[in-house]
Symmetry: D2
Subunit: 193 residues, 4 copies
Amino acid sequence: MSNIAGYRDDDYIRGKAPMTKREIRILTISLLGIKPGDAVVDIGAGTGGITMEAAYAAAPGIVFAVEAKEAALELVAKNKEHFHADNVEIIKGKAPEALSQITRDVDRVIIGGSGGKIEGLLIWCKERIRSGGRVIANFVTLENAAQATTLMNHYFENVELIQVGISRGEGIGGLTMLKASNPIFIITGDVVK
Amino acid sequence: MSNIAGYRDDDYIRGKAPMTKREIRILTISLLGIKPGDAVVDIGAGTGGITMEAAYAAAPGIVFAVEAKEAALELVAKNKEHFHADNVEIIKGKAPEALSQITRDVDRVIIGGSGGKIEGLLIWCKERIRSGGRVIANFVTLENAAQATTLMNHYFENVELIQVGISRGEGIGGLTMLKASNPIFIITGDVVK
Amino acid sequence: MSNIAGYRDDDYIRGKAPMTKREIRILTISLLGIKPGDAVVDIGAGTGGITMEAAYAAAPGIVFAVEAKEAALELVAKNKEHFHADNVEIIKGKAPEALSQITRDVDRVIIGGSGGKIEGLLIWCKERIRSGGRVIANFVTLENAAQATTLMNHYFENVELIQVGISRGEGIGGLTMLKASNPIFIITGDVVK
Amino acid sequence: MSNIAGYRDDDYIRGKAPMTKREIRILTISLLGIKPGDAVVDIGAGTGGITMEAAYAAAPGIVFAVEAKEAALELVAKNKEHFHADNVEIIKGKAPEALSQITRDVDRVIIGGSGGKIEGLLIWCKERIRSGGRVIANFVTLENAAQATTLMNHYFENVELIQVGISRGEGIGGLTMLKASNPIFIITGDVVK
């Protein structure tokens, strides 16, 4: 029940860091099930790829984009302007500490980067996500995916994990070469209180 | 700009035939970019997995679900009722012949099964999709994916192919085993007139 | 520098349990680098799929096949006879306890099943694999792969991990459908003393 | 029944062009089933990655390395020297025309690059591979894989296709990120006369 903008990778203002790919953005928002009016937190916003999709899906609700790195914060701000995502509130700082700046309960949380503090993030999610809400976490490393799966099974309900591998056709002399993106682990869990 | 219902596999009334998996349904609707009010054709509706997502995304528009097999037609009808998808019109018959029953122009076409007649389907798409519309085709076989890529590059604009591989975590003794779904080729093309 | 028999899946006498697929067997033996004359331990021999390839590669050396389950032990014995793998010595029992039955140093160890006791297995490997030897571990679960990676980095040198996904073409009406096997994590480490 | 050298990617002298990865080299030689004494043709030798493994497996047999590009020919020559692969004979020119320089029957053929002339290559294989021999072809493009599958089913027996996706663990801050290599199609066929 999510409104998907389906922005293309090229639609974004991008820096040097790799950005979450379009298909992963779509799956993240859809599996998280963001609804219009939701309050969403995007932890580790990076370039703002998922943030902008979340802002579209949550409108007229709010998206808190939490990010610590200066260069990334700048990109999120630029993309916020570029996509007219007025419902994005940028929060500077490292999670979980920076999450104290969010003084209200929320509906959905996206964990795009954990900075090695997964459990602290999940405890915050457990406390501040309303019953019926959901958390989704994307990981590129094996250890974080494994640890988060264990922890999420402890803190949340209906935990599900998928690993997604996307290869993209690239034209080469009239033929279609398959170029692989790095596989991503996506884990979801429901908050039931 | 698509409304994604995000139905779960278990939400459907299913037969013995394998059904398009949830993530593929989400990506198909999102990459196709169905908008509210669109007229959509779903060729080779099968169980109706994608049909129901398309119906949600296109409402109040219409979805024509084209299917030849009796058992599949029955499942589509049951799922139409189950999901209250009143905007689904079931068309019995083999495409491309059965497409003559659709007497209006459409916005989006989903090709879920070609019955070996890809070019006939694409020619129909070229004629009956409005300018600005889009076609998406999902394939499980190498040859159909390759042939469709070549043909779609001939008939449409901005043709893109991805191959999607999803593995799903399955709990086994407190651990998470990765179970692979078969890879799917997804090809999109724009109609520009 | 390994002799690969390249046995086909159908060459084996098989039970109901899934067997390590041919490509994974080949990669396991080749990446482990079994040489003629090596003493090899195959922990969690299962059907004996990898055991038979290891026996071929290690000849005239020996392969200790460690397995706890009665049904699996029977299959290993049958395959030993079927493949004339006289250099396979079957050891009944659970690792790491059962490894005490191996009273000599060895060159290579294959961990095909950990029974949740990875560290105990790796400590045994560290003690009993000669300098210059190597250990390889195959996992189907995320948590075991992550844990083993961490532990192997602690106990061994040059630790490398790959995840292998194989899809097999299956003829269907003159076309080639891709059928995915479950992804396997393969981790190797060198013993340097 | 193949001797696998198992050379590492770093063992090779490499140019700017991407080289067939280690796991694909191992699978190619093993699935082709090169035996000591075999006469092997490696069409589209590129850097010589597979050539060197083939030379190890075929010794004391011969490997004809066919390559048209000057830069690649130089790399093959350098790797031939580096690996002491005296049983490699370099043939300059485009296949299938250049294959006329091979005046003897052969046992195994590796097609690493087709230059768009797959059928010509396969006809040569059909004529010059001895009964009991085998051909293997590796492709990165969808269209070549599909076309080769169709043609190989026409010319050869027991045609099999796999698609191989390898992700490699890369250390990043004490964690293991999965980096995907592009998927490769590997097709084998037997020559029965």
